[in-house]
């Protein structure tokens, strides 16, 4: 019922390579990248990436949008914490989307942010499948 994260390769502990499958209307929360490099390539469909500024220390207001763009098939994007935070979404109501993500070093938790207040919340990320096998919680 939401986008799935499917681990493909863990590079001997040096990176995580995964495929994300987005249904129509599926989107992520605003999140950071826990001090890692993040590369993303669109394999199918389109994904909208909205960049946000880090909220102030005692954030208590709407988060500030820096920019947004729609990434098309085969386009690549990169982000890390010094660039900012982002939300990624499949805004199509008719097409699914598939993206390839490379995170180095790998991380399994990050912070999500409430766009209205800037409050952050640490979350653990899980995989829907790993190396082709369904991961059960």
């Amino acid at each position: 019922f939401r986008y799935t994260r499917n681990l493909v390769d863990n590079g001997n502990g040096k990176f995580n390579l995964m495929i994300l499958c987005w249904g129509e209307g599926h989107g992520s929360s605003i999140h950071d990248h826990t001090d890692s490099h993040c590369f993303m390539k669109i394999l199918q469909g389109n994904l909208k990436e909205t960049l946000f500024e880090w909220p102030e220390k005692k954030g208590n207001g709407e988060m500030i949008k820096k920019s947004e763009r729609v990434l098309r098939e085969n386009q690549c994007a990169y982000i890390n914490d010094s660039i900012g935070l982002h939300r990624v979404e499949n805004i199509s109501h008719t097409e699914t989307a598939v993206s390839l993500h490379l995170y180095s070093p790998p991380f399994d938790s990050c912070n999500t942010f409430d766009q209205r207040t800037g409050h952050k919340h640490k979350v653990t990320m899980t995989f829907y499948s790993q190396f082709g096998e369904r991961t059960l919680c």
Partner: protein
């Protein structure tokens, strides 16, 4: 659709005519007895003739399970569609719908309903009759409020409401015990305590009605004009269990905040029968004391335990 389709492919189970510029689908569909999946997205459907006449009587009405009409030009849901009794999955995303017909309740077997990306302004309470509905997508519309009856969707696991015009939710949303995902971002949800200060004192009719109901004054249809009998049947119960009162038209609307998952504060609308009435979750009377806030937090943390992913941010 080519004539003779059912003669060439009588065993057809899945038909995908997406992105073909189709403006009509005619009688060729009616004699495909095995068809369970019809994908016709990104076409020019929406006018008369989009669906064949006599659809309700065709074998298709019972065999079709999945229908995808997203990315077309439907300005309303064609009545013929509502005759597809066996339908489990329906997508009308990215069309031009302004409303959902109450007869949507006819699609008794529906489990998946995608209506994102339209111009829908309100949700009919009849939608709540879809007892098997697991996945409801209403994102990217113009919805201003959610009917409290939606809490009757006991099978609902995922509800997508992002990018609408919601300022609050009905408190009954806490009753959706199987709900695992709820997306609410991009709504102008109120962030501060709001009490409807324009409380109009009840009319004499309302006061009389309340007395009849709360004192259980017996009456028979022959005792009263029909209009008053109907009026009395519309009494709503005050949600405060300590009150036990009823109200008709005159009520206090109060927004209380409920913490979800300990992190997100959702504004939930409560209706009370009078300003003197205690709010539902507090033993003290009136406004949001810290006592009443923490009581509602207890209720919410029970509900939040069930609701694992609230996608607000």
């Amino acid at each position: 659709l080519p004539a003779g389709l059912s003669q060439w492919f009588p065993a057809l189970e899945v038909l995908d005519v997406s992105g073909t510029g189709l403006a009509e689908m005619g009688a060729e569909l009616l004699s495909l007895p095995c068809l369970h999946t019809l994908l016709a997205k990104n076409n020019r459907l929406g006018g008369p003739g989009s669906l064949p006449k006599g659809l309700g009587q065709a074998p298709l009405a019972r065999s079709l399970r999945v229908l995808n009409l997203s990315g077309n030009r439907f300005a309303d849901v064609p009545p013929a569609l509502l005759q597809l009794r066996g339908l489990r999955s329906l997508s009308l995303g990215g069309n031009r719908l302004h409303s959902i017909p109450p007869d949507i309740q006819e699609l008794r077997s529906l489990e998946f309903l995608y209506l994102g990306g339209n111009f829908i302004t309100s949700i009919p309470p009849e939608l709540a009759k879809l007892a098997s509905l697991k996945y409801l997508v209403l994102c990217d519309n113009k919805i201003q409020s959610i009917p409290p009856q939606l809490a009757q969707l006991h099978s609902l696991r995922s509800l997508s409401l992002h990018n609408n015009l919601l300022t609050y939710l009905p408190r009954e949303i806490l009753n959706l015990v199987h709900l695992e995902e709820l997306s609410l971002r991009g709504n102008p949800l109120v962030v501060r305590f709001v009490r409807d200060l324009t409380y109009n004192p009840p009319s004499l009719q309302e006061l009389a009605g309340r007395t009849v109901k709360t004192r259980n004054v017996p009456y028979a249809p022959s005792d009263l004009p029909e209009s008053l009998v109907r009026y009395l049947s519309l009494a709503s119960n005050c949600p405060n269990p300590k009150c036990g009162g009823v109200y008709f038209d005159s009520c206090v609307r109060q927004i209380k905040f409920v913490d979800f998952c300990g992190k997100y504060r959702l504004p939930l609308m409560h209706y009370l029968c009078s300003p003197e009435c205690s709010s539902p979750f507090s033993s003290a009377s009136q406004s949001s004391t810290s006592q009443s806030e923490s009581d509602s937090e207890d209720e919410a943390s029970v509900a939040a335990h069930r609701m694992q992913k609230v996608l607000l941010g």
